[in-house]
């Protein structure tokens, strides 16, 4: 059937993009293995649809297509959670970056030294310090 040709081509296409990507460190090896298994399973399932129905019946599900749908729901939930965690990690990186920028910017304005200058010799400042006009102190 035409649909079988289309599906098998799609599975092999997507899987090979993942598996034939740049050779890299161990972290990606697991992903490649997973996709290899997935591709084999998908091709077999498409070539012989009766097979998934046999598996479905064995676990108490009527049709192979239903079993696949249930599996898809679980995989999708897992995927959503995975993306959420990745997103949170990304957010943490952004926060750190923005914090570093904020502290650097404050340091370039001399905020800390301005705030603590009176700590060094308070009595000396009491005697001699003129009161700067508000506009000069805030002006930036």
């Amino acid at each position: 059937m035409i649909i079988q040709i289309l599906l098998i081509a799609g599975v092999i296409g997507v899987s090979s993009v993942v598996m034939l990507g740049r050779p890299s460190h161990v972290g990606r090896a697991g992903r490649k293995a997973f996709f290899a298994l997935f591709a084999v399973f998908a091709v077999v399932a498409v070539a012989d649809p009766g097979l998934t129905t046999d598996v479905a019946n064995a676990v108490g599900v009527g049709r192979g297509a239903d079993l696949l749908l249930y599996l898809l729901v679980i995989v999708f939930l897992f995927f959503a959670l995975h993306v959420y965690v990745l997103f949170k990690k990304q957010e943490r990186v952004i926060v750190r970056l923005a914090r570093a920028m904020a502290l650097q910017e404050a340091s370039s304005r001399g905020v800390m030294s301005e705030a603590t200058i009176a700590d060094l010799a308070p009595s000396a400042i009491v005697v001699s310090a003129p009161v700067p006009p508000a506009s000069a102190a805030d002006g930036r």
Binding site: A98, A106, V111, M112, T116, A137
Partner: protein
């Protein structure tokens, strides 16, 4: 800012204290709050979390050190930025977190810092419910009770008021933590950090002034659900 403000005699006692105030669009009140705090604590850092209403200028005019986030990151992130900034002062020994909307009282903060000085505790935490110090509105009270139960369950820290923004702590504690929950979930994370680091703490009753302003600014109760979700997923990220 005038120099005479900086060295008012009764602030010398607290020259080793930094008050950290996260700030987001509090322009109408933050100036008064900073001035009030600085009568007791000369060192105030306001972390402007992307305000668009002139909060930064108001805080600076009142004599606060102002650190500005380039983008809005959330209150937890602002607290951590303020703590990081305060730690760059080599003579800092104590830190206080204080809300910029004016709901906390300076004399409570002063009492907490004095308690820190006179004890071996790493933290003194403010509580609205010890001694019935404050009477939050009924709806708020129920929500806070639920938050307290959730807090005990997830952080293992039994506090009478798990989400009070008024805290005083030592440099030792400040230097050992990093608040990573950028938003309101940071309050629970804070408690988790206390528990997991084995820090010693005590709670003291504090007053909260629920003004119309602070009630209007307060977070929606629905946000509690978001916070709970983030806390439960915390271990994964």
């Amino acid at each position: 800012m005038t120099v005479t403000q900086l060295i008012a005699a009764d602030t010398l006692e607290n020259i080793d204290v930094w008050v950290v105030m996260p700030m987001f669009n509090e322009g109408s009140v933050v100036g008064d709050v900073v001035r009030r705090v600085r009568q007791t604590f000369p060192h105030v850092v306001c972390v402007d979390d992307g305000s668009t209403d002139g909060s930064a200028a108001a805080a600076a005019a009142a004599g606060a050190a102002v650190v500005r986030h380039p983008i809005n990151l959330g209150q937890g992130a602002a607290l951590q930025t303020g703590i990081s900034f305060a730690l760059t002062d080599p003579s800092v020994r104590y830190l206080v977190t204080f809300d910029s909307d004016g709901q906390h009282r300076v004399d409570d903060a002063l009492r907490m810092v004095r308690l820190l000085r006179d004890s071996d505790h790493d933290l003194i935490l403010g509580s609205r419910f010890l001694d019935g110090a404050a009477q939050p509105p009924a709806g708020k009270r129920a929500l806070l009770r639920a938050a307290r139960a959730f807090n005990a369950l997830t952080t293992g820290l039994k506090l009478t008021d798990a989400h009070n923004g008024l805290r005083a702590f030592t440099v030792k504690f400040a230097a050992s933590i990093e608040i990573t929950m950028p938003d309101m979930a940071h309050a629970s994370e804070f408690n988790y950090l206390i528990k997991s680091g084995g820090f010693s703490y005590d709670e003291v009753p504090v007053h909260i002034d629920y003004t119309e302003y602070s009630k209007a600014k307060g977070q929606s109760a629905f946000n509690a659900i978001n916070i709970a979700f983030d806390i439960l997923l915390r271990g994964r990220s």
